[in-house]
Structures are given as structure tokens and as C-alpha cells.
């Protein structure tokens, strides 16, 4: 569960103080599918970095499962990311020379006790994103959509509290994007908490709820009445559902 309370973030360069996020307060419960939406420069990325424990707020409180993140040092934040957060980036950020399998097991390098069945877990995660057949492929042998799905499998491997996806469809064509969204839909149905960060309302509408930012502030926090269904849209494209 995430609880943010009057979150402020200000960057200081010398004497110049640049506020990038002001007074953000909201709460995201376990199992929710939330989109954080805003144009660039609205503080959306900053909020995402803070939620992802990559950055700390200047003021305010961020409770992740009851832990006040602002009080943790860099090492503790690293451990927290490893345990509780699965990242999916716009640019995938896969290791170019490593197979899908090795990319997916990467977060396990940094857990305290390497699971004996790591490969099994990776196989499962890759199967969950429809890439059971591509485990030994390297990123350059995969399409963009497939690469992003490897990245999602990587995010899943540690069974995190939150999957934090930053513009996950931003680098993909429409069909691949929908396939990725279809996976998020399925993960949500399986009970994962998903936070989708995007500037695109069409993407945001796949979530149940939108937290919108404007001018560094949360201006809107609403339920989506008509959630978009990627599977239906894929059907409409005539390509059917993603292989599961």
C-alpha cells in the first residue's frame, strides 16, 4: 500500500531553488491499477521516481507498506526497490548482450538469497508475458514489443508489491502497445498493483483510476468510468489476443 502525504520536491542548483512537485497527497491500495498522467514538466517523472524509491521527497511523507521512505539511506532504498518495486521503462533497458533469460533473472543477483529455482521462476515469468519460446533470444533478436515483455517479466521476477511502468508503450507501435497493455490487464487481474505513468490519456484509460498532474500539482484523482480493454481493441485490429 502506498500513502503519500503533502509530498514536495525541490531541486536546488546553488541558490536557485526549483520546485518540481508540490503538495501531492494520495493513497494507492494493494491491487489497484492506477495511471499517473501529466504532460512533461508537470512533475510526473519526479513523482514516479519518488514512488519508485529512486529519489526522495524534499518534504512530506511517503509510506510504502508502512515504511517511511524519506528516512531510508541509499542502500536501504536499493534493497527496497529490489524487494518491492518492479520497473518497466519506455526504453526497455535490457542488457543488450544477455539472453531474455539472463535479463529476467538480473534482479535476483541483488536479492539476499538467490533462489535455487531462479531459472524456473524466469521461465514462468517469461511464459506469463507470452515469451516461453524466446528464453534464449537476445534483445536484438526480439521485436520492440517482445523486448518490452521481457522487461515486464524482469519486473515480475521478484514478485514486487508494485509494478511501476513509465510510458511502457511509448516506444512501441499500436499493436505491440496493446499487447503490452493486455499483459498489464492480466497482471492486474491476478492481483498485482500497477502504476502506469504516461502523458497519454488513451494509455491512461486502461487503468481504473487516473491521478493527473498539472503545474507540479495533483489536479485530479478520479475513477475511470469506461476502462479500455486492450484485448477487445486487439480483436478489433484483427490480430486476436496475445498468446498466453
Amino acid at each position: 500500500m502506498i500513502e503519500v502525504d503533502q509530498l514536495d520536491k525541490t531541486y536546488s542548483a546553488g541558490r536557485v531553488l526549483t520546485p518540481v512537485l508540490k503538495d501531492a497527497s494520495f493513497r494507492i491500495d494493494e491491487g489497484e491499477y492506477v495511471a499517473i498522467m501529466g504532460a512533461s514538466g508537470t512533475g510526473k517523472s519526479t513523482l514516479m521516481n519518488i514512488l519508485g524509491c529512486l529519489d526522495k521527497p524534499t518534504a512530506g511523507r511517503y509510506l510504502l507498506d508502512g515504511t517511511d521512505v524519506a528516512e531510508l539511506d541509499d542502500d536501504a532504498l536499493s534493497r527496497l526497490r529490489n524487494k518491492k518495486i518492479g520497473f518497466v521503462f519506455q526504453q526497455f533497458h535490457l542488457l543488450e548482450r544477455a539472453t531474455a533469460m539472463r535479463n529476467v533473472t538480473l534482479p535476483l543477483i541483488y536479492v539476499d538469497k538467490y533462489p535455487e529455482d531462479a531459472e524456473k521462476m524466469a521461465e514462468k515469468a517469461l511464459a506469463a508475458v507470452g515469451l516461453a519460446e524466446r528464453m534464449q533470444y537476445k534483445p536484438n533478436e526480439l521485436s520492440g514489443g517482445q523486448q518490452q515483455r521481457v522487461a515486464i517479466a524482469r519486473a515480475l521476477i521478484t514478485d514486487p508489491e508494485i509494478i511501476l511502468a513509465d510510458e511502457p508503450t511509448g516506444a512501441l507501435d499500436r499493436k505491440s502497445g496493446l499487447e503490452v497493455m493486455s499483459i498489464f490487464k492480466k497482471l492486474h487481474q491476478e492481483g498485482h498493483t500497477i502504476i502506469l505513468v504516461t502523458h497519454d490519456l488513451a494509455v491512461a484509460e486502461h487503468a481504473q483510476r487516473i491521478i493527473a498532474l498539472k503545474d507540479r500539482q495533483v489536479t485530479e484523482d478520479r475513477r475511470i468510468k469506461q476502462q479500455r480493454d486492450p484485448d477487445l481493441e486487439l480483436d478489433a485490429l484483427g490480430v486476436g489476443e496475445v498468446k498466453k
Binding site: 519508485g52 529512486l54 541509499d74 536499493s78 526497490r81 526504453q91 548482450r97 543477483i109 521478484t158
Partner: protein, 402 residues
């Protein structure tokens, strides 16, 4: 263990870009190879020195006719060293065990029947054996009676024996040197070859008196071989001998000496001196290679950190701490230098073996260069790896993942 997995990440990176890995490694390879060769040559040279000291006799001092700073072989034309000088050394110098006068000539023809050979002829007294720790293996040694009676007898070395008599025993046979027929009464123990290539076993020992009067026709000797009682007396004995001969030959420094005193230490130092220059050059090459190699390694790693910013950011995002990143890059650097060490050690060993087979350079392979190489590999890897590792660890994941 977690740390092993992180080290594994560092070492795996080497396999992914082999060309880059090679360039990172090449300095270490050359440096360590040079180091291995130097150490082998150094050990070889040292062994040669030890052999020369051994061959000379560690407790021996030679009083040699003729001035100058050269070591043996002596100048055979100088006539000022006499039997009386040897007598005086024996009587007046303290701390000596033996002092025996020797006169000798090189390359004298020796005949046995129709067979002919050449050998070194040594005219000696009975205590020659003791002074050289070199005894007869068969038959009898030159005795005091032989010297007193100018007996025409001799003791021969094993090479000469073989050359003249084949596998037969030469004992009781005769050899002819300058038309004097010597009866062979003994055979010397086998001694082998000097580091300079002289065959010690190609020699004839005759009684000093017989040699000086009947063969060489001279009343001077070539050198006095002195054996001191124990090693710490060497300096004192040298000094006493110098003083004594100065007095007897009426020499007052700075007047030039007509004799030289040579000790085993001096022989050793001379041998050491010649191998030193090459060693220093190679040492400089090794040091320079390791230094340049280290700098190249550091720069490639720094570039690589720049190229791999996204990877580093990602690793941080999925849970790597700063220390984990630092360890990974340090492991990469150390993996480079340690594999470079193995390759360099192998290369050095191969070069050493080739040198051994193609040149006269004495060589001894041992474990020390490998221990030293490992130490250097760890040192270079750590020293030049720290900076890139720090840089990698200091990257802010938020910035590099943007």
C-alpha cells in the same frame, strides 16, 4: 553468496566484448611476461654466480701473479711471484688452512703412444688437493716424496684419461709431455665444466718441482691458492696477504701491484655485474608496461562506464547498491589483470623456454615470479580499477535512466 554473484557480473562483462577485453589486458600481459622472463633470467644469473662461487671454492683466495683488476685466468708472463712468497704466506698469515703454490701452462701437447691430445698442466704440491677440495678417485695423489725427489709421475683428469686411453684404466701407463715420460699414478675426481666453458677434467697434475724444472723451466709460480679457516676470515686474510706481498716485493702504493688477490666474492660480484644491466632494462620494460597497461585499462573502463550508464542505472533500479556497482567494476578490472597475468605468465614462460633453447642465457623457472605477478595483477587491477568503479557507483539512476 550475493557478493559472488556481483563479482560474476563483473567477470561476465569480459566475455561480451573480446576486443575491448584484449586491449584492456595487453599491458598486463606484456608487463607480466617481461617480469616472468626477468625473474627467470635473474634466477639463472644468480645460479650461475652461485656455481662460480662454488666452483672457485667459497673459502678460497687466490694470490695471482700479475697486476690489474682482472680475475683469473692469470697472466703467465709475470715472473715475480715465487715459491718463497708462497712459503711466507703459509708461515705468516693467520687464519688460513692451506696455501699451496701452483705453476701451470695451458694447451700443452700430451701423448700416449700414438694418441695425442692437449691439456692444462698444473705443477702442484700435495696440499693442492686439500686447497681445492679435489681428490683422486683412483690410484694415488702427488706426494711430498714426489715433490722432494722430482719424481716423474702425474695425476690426470678424467677427460684426458678418456681421450688418451678410452675406457681402459690409465693407471701405470705413461704419458709424454715435451719428451718427458710421466707415469700415471692417479686419476682425479670428475669435476665438470666451468661456467665459462673450460673443461676442468682435461688436466695433468705433476709434482711442483718436476713441473717447474723439467717442463716449464721456470723459477716462478703462477698463483698461490689459499684456503681460509672460515668465511669471516676472508677479508682479514686478503689484507694480510696484500701487506705481506707489498713488503716482500717492495711495493708502496700508489705504485702498481705486480699481483692480484681474488676471492670467491669478487668472482661472484663480477658475474652479477654483467647480468645486472639487462635485468634493469627488462625491469623498466615490465614496470612501464604495467603502468601504461594500467592507465589504458583505466581509460577503457572509464569509457565503458560512460557507455554502460543505462545498464548501471538499470542495475541500481532493480536493487544494486552503490557498493554492488563498485564491486562489479572492480571485479571487472581485477578479472582483466588477473587473466592478463595468467596469459602474461604463460607467454613469459614460453619466451623463457625459447631463450633457454636458443641462447646461452642461463635460466631458472620458479614459482616466485607467479606470486609476484599475482601481487602486481591485484595491485594494478585495484589501483586503476578504483576510479572507474567509483564513477560507476556515483551515477544517479534517475539521471541515466531518463
Amino acid at each position: 553468496m550475493r557478493m559472488w554473484r556481483i563479482i560474476g557480473q563483473g567477470t561476465q562483462a569480459l566475455g561480451t566484448n573480446k576486443m575491448r577485453t584484449f586491449f584492456m589486458m595487453v599491458g598486463t600481459i606484456v608487463g607480466i611476461a617481461a617480469l616472468t622472463v626477468i625473474m627467470a633470467m635473474g634466477n639463472g644469473a644468480e645460479q650461475k654466480v652461485m656455481k662460480r662461487i662454488e666452483g672457485f671454492g667459497p673459502r678460497a683466495i687466490m694470490l695471482i701473479a700479475g697486476g690489474g683488476k682482472d680475475l683469473p685466468p692469470p697472466d703467465l708472463t709475470v715472473t715475480t711471484l715465487t715459491l718463497d712468497d708462497a712459503e711466507a704466506v703459509r708461515d705468516k698469515v693467520h687464519g688460513i688452512e692451506a696455501a699451496t703454490p701452483v705453476a701451470f701452462k695451458r694447451n700443452m701437447p700430451v701423448k700416449a703412444g700414438a694418441t695425442q691430445s692437449t691439456a692444462m698442466i698444473f705443477a702442484v704440491e700435495p696440499d693442492w688437493h686439500e686447497a681445492w677440495d679435489w681428490y683422486v678417485s683412483d690410484g694415488d695423489a702427488i706426494s711430498a716424496a714426489d715433490v722432494a725427489t722430482l719424481a716423474i709421475v702425474c695425476v690426470i683428469g678424467q677427460t684426458l684419461s678418456h681421450d688418451l686411453f678410452g675406457s681402459e684404466s690409465p693407471l701405470g701407463n705413461y704419458i709424454r709431455i715435451q719428451n718427458v715420460r710421466f707415469r700415471i699414478k692417479g686419476i682425479l675426481e670428475h669435476r665438470g665444466t666451468s661456467p665459462m666453458g673450460t673443461d676442468f677434467d682435461n688436466r695433468v697434475l705433476v709434482p711442483l718441482s718436476t713441473g717447474m724444472r723439467r717442463l716449464f723451466n721456470q723459477d716462478y709460480i703462477t698463483y698461490v691458492r689459499i684456503k681460509v679457516k672460515n668465511l669471516d676470515r676472508i677479508k682479514s686474510v686478503q689484507k694480510q696477504v696484500r701487506q705481506l706481498i707489498h713488503e716482500r716485493h717492495h711495493i708502496t702504493p700508489p705504485q702498481e701491484d705486480d699481483f692480484r688477490i681474488v676471492s670467491a666474492q669478487a668472482v661472484g660480484e663480477l658475474a652479477r655485474g654483467t647480468s645486472g644491466t639487462l635485468s634493469i632494462l627488462l625491469m623498466a620494460l615490465a614496470g612501464l608496461s604495467l603502468l601504461v597497461g594500467g592507465v589504458v585499462l583505466m581509460n577503457i573502463l572509464l569509457i565503458s562506464v560512460g557507455e554502460r550508464q543505462k545498464e548501471i542505472g538499470l542495475r541500481r533500479a532493480v536493487g544494486a547498491t552503490r557498493k554492488d556497482i563498485r564491486s562489479q567494476f572492480l571485479a571487472e578490472s581485477l578479472a582483466v589483470t588477473c587473466s592478463g597475468m595468467l596469459l602474461g605468465g604463460g607467454l613469459g614462460t614460453v619466451i623463457t623456454l625459447i631463450l633457454e633453447h636458443t641462447t646461452q642465457v642461463p635460466i631458472v623457472l620458479s614459482w616466485e615470479p607467479f606470486a609476484l605477478s599475482l601481487a602486481f595483477a591485484l595491485l594494478v587491477g585495484t589501483f586503476f580499477g578504483v576510479q572507474p568503479a567509483r564513477k560507476a557507483a556515483s551515477l544517479n539512476p534517475v539521471e541515466v535512466l531518463r
